[in-house]
Symmetry: C2
Subunit: 483 residues, 2 copies
């Protein structure tokens, strides 16, 4: 009987696959393990994903057709962009019953409207291609991430991406003017407006942003552009502690306001890892410091920012807000500084296992978070090497813990949940978030009930039921089946 | 029988009133027409409002108690702040069956956290008191509106308020870090976090912002603060057309970027009304111009903005981007310029009836909107005087139409719906919004189905049903009973 049911099921699914092929063309419906592989392996290798098929519609109508068919056959859909997500929100579970809906064929920048400081782009375009299209029109699209060459705008929207320019320009949410979304019932919602002000009802756009494909499938977006910076200065400082780093940040923020466009914190331990594993890099300062901070100031006006920065830093030295510092003297030196920051995650891979936390706290709580977090990590695993680094101006740290030297990697990674629990308990105590930048995905869906109040989860569940009553859009992401 | 039913009903309501009095104190439950009057008359006099009672809880727990009682007795609740709203979203209908829940007793600025650039405030505090608390801590809270002395933070959040600083700082939505909300079931949601980054699920905060009290009652908010501007320059220009105004705006925006903090457009007709009815005012420029534009540039850095502005304006004159202009030479002159802008609405009251539109279009469509809008208004009512003015940098105009001179006011105002339809049709054609800044309220709830796609209204209705299944929170606002 079981095998008869399976046979009937597979006939049914064969019908579905054929219907998909008829709707969007057989060459865009991948079913072989080889063709599907790159869509099922995620960057950290935390999830074992399987799929019925990977489908690649070429336009919004085709996305809608796929959604309608999936609904008809009751098949879950996992929308996917560049598959660079770090929380498993872009890959299906291991049941093999879902399809991956890849947006990568929808990759056109449709329209750059410099006069309105706006750009319209399909969801599958890479972030880098949008940055480039803005640059070609003498505008800035400020979102900037390590994976910008392969992550897509749809993924940036689905996860409300952050990155290194949030301090001045905000998260992806702040950069989206309008959206086109295919809804769970297969209808297309055209919210693609380029308006700066619109108070005609509930913030539907904001609901879709950050919903990780669980409420609808973003197919096109209208994005905000900005004047290109005409003057940029980059500065590297060595400091003795997170407290000193924070005091220096505040000094610069008080002087530069929104012209302070980046502030990234790195511990010496992390810098050492980069210097070891990236032979082309070298330390910006002659002596080691416990902590380092990378600043950027930039202005849309052509102005002598370097002179101003030098004065502001002299004042900072007098006030004992840093131990040493250097202003980048060339574009090459500026890029060398940034490479040290951008190589942080990669460098940790060469040091064995790393247990990750993506947290934020109120900015003033950062020093306490770092102190207590390192202590807690060492309690869980003596000899481990905490490497908290990240966006100090946003209160957002990647609180990564590298394994003790010489320990078995798999053994270390078995402490993932215990380590998470210890760090997340501190985050909660300090009024922070344990899913600050990368999203919830499937990685943290199971702990949502411990991270959030019942009211939060109840409201999210009510919204999910209202938008996707059959539960076919990225099930298990954000809300686990139980929550 | 009918009178018996009424008798039973009134006994039932008497129970309710007594229960309210027991919960929050009898002196905070107003039932006499005199005591309730100021809460039932709204600024434009468009709605005839009645209420069972006006209740004034003193803290969040009391708000929750009122909501639970209203639910038990099935009584609709209309949350109210400073009662300065322009679309009837803060007053009940004329059935007399609802209560007004006034937040005005909850008016404390609880905590100013300059280190985190954050401030925690109760919903009933006035906007001016928050601006003042920020100033006292050497910070800026940038939201700025004509009604700032009496409008409240809760109302600013409920309507996603805009104003004159949106160009650089965004709408109220962009200034809110966290919220505390009493939900329709009487539970309290504590979303009062001061985080810059939090991607732990759906954007509940954004859903409440701009929902005009229909999804929950905002009781406390955590707001963002900014460094105070150290240099400010104000500039008045006379231009020949909206096209020239826009070209001048773009020239300044390209030079100043986020340092261009205001850009307000006024027609000569409107300026004349102000000069006539405010005897203390005088025109900034010696000759009349068809249009005027008021700019402000400001910087958190102490810098010689005036010299830079003078150079930029010289370039603008060479490029024929303005007819004449003057930089304010003193704080008094700066305030005199701003008074001309802020008196625009008030001045129109002295010119008889005025039919209002609160619209936004993509910025590049502003000239066409103004041209076609004036033409359409004159078609509806020959001799009428269009006074479109507002936030040119946001694409947001208050497209007000003053009555023909000498016409009967009531007769003119009978053309409200026809005039609205003509202007809103143009707005739709140009991809704009007919509820850009003031919200939907009860004024535009009936036309939501004509302003929006069915998908929009369906999603909003689904959210409303999920959050307030009994429909007791501000019924008839945003969504009419039919939509």
């Amino acid at each position: 009987l079981v095998s008869l049911q399976r046979f009937i099921l597979s006939i049914h699914m064969l019908d579905f696959i054929n219907a998909l092929a008829a709707a969007i063309g057989p060459s865009h419906v991948l079913t072989s393990p080889e063709a599907m592989r790159s869509h099922l392996v995620e960057p950290r290798g935390l999830f074992h994903a399987r799929a019925l098929a990977v489908v690649k519609p070429g336009n919004t109508e085709e996305v809608a057709a796929v959604v309608r068919l999936a609904r008809q056959y009751h098949v879950p859909i996992v929308p996917q962009g560049g598959n660079t997500g770090l929380v498993g929100g872009g890959v299906p579970d291991d049941s093999g019953q879902a399809i991956v809906l890849s947006l990568t064929r929808m990759n056109r920048v449709r329209h750059v409207d410099a006069d309105n400081d706006a750009l319209t782009v399909e969801a599958g375009a890479t972030l880098a291609s949008v940055q480039e299209a803005a640059r070609a029109a003498n505008r800035l699209f400020p979102l900037s991430l390590a994976s910008e060459g392969s992550c897509t705008i749809g993924g940036n929207i689905a996860t409300n991406a952050g990155g290194t320019a949030v301090l001045s320009y905000g998260n992806m949410r702040d950069l989206v003017l309008g959206l086109e979304v295919v809804l769970a019932d297969g209808r297309i919602w055209n919210g693609l407006r380029c308006l700066r002000k619109d108070n005609s009802g509930y913030a539907l756009k904001h609901l879709f942003i950050g919903s990780e494909g669980t409420l609808g499938i973003v197919t096109t977006a209208a994005l905000r552009l900005f004047p290109r910076p005409q003057s940029v200065e980059t500065f590297w400082a060595g400091v003795s502690s997170p407290d000193q780093a924070l005091a220096l940040f505040r000094h610069l923020r008080a002087h530069f306001g929104s012209l302070l466009t980046a502030a990234e914190l790195l511990p010496q331990t992390g810098l050492d890892m980069v210097l070891t594993h990236f032979p082309q890099t070298r330390a910006p300062l002659p002596a080691p410091h416990m902590w380092h901070i990378l600043f950027e100031v930039s202005s849309p006006m052509r102005m002598d920012l370097r002179d101003i920065l030098a004065t502001v830093l002299e004042e900072a030295l007098e006030k004992n807000l840093l131990e040493n510092g250097v202003i980048a003297q060339s574009l090459a030196q500026r890029e060398a500084f940034w490479l040290l920051r951008e190589a942080m995650s990669e460098a940790q891979k060469h040091e064995g296992g790393s247990i990750k936390h993506d947290i934020s706290v109120p900015i003033s709580a950062l020093p306490e978070m770092i102190r207590a977090g390192c202590e807690a990590a060492l309690n869980v695993m003596p000899g481990c090497r905490p490497v908290p680094f990240g966006h100090v101006g946003d209160g957002n740290l990647h609180f990564n813990i590298s394994q003790p030297i010489g320990m078995d990697k798999a053994l270390f990674l078995k402490h993932w949940d215990v380590m998470n629990a210890a760090i997340h308990a501190l985050v909660a105590e300090l009024g922070g978030s344990a899913a600050a930048e990368h999203g919830v995905g499937r990685l943290k869906a199971d702990i949502m009930r411990t991270l959030k109040q019942p009211q939060d989860v109840d409201m999210m569940r009510a919204i999910k039921n209202a938008f996707d009553p059959e539960g076919l859009l990225n099930p298990g992401t954000i809300l686990s089946r139980e929550s």
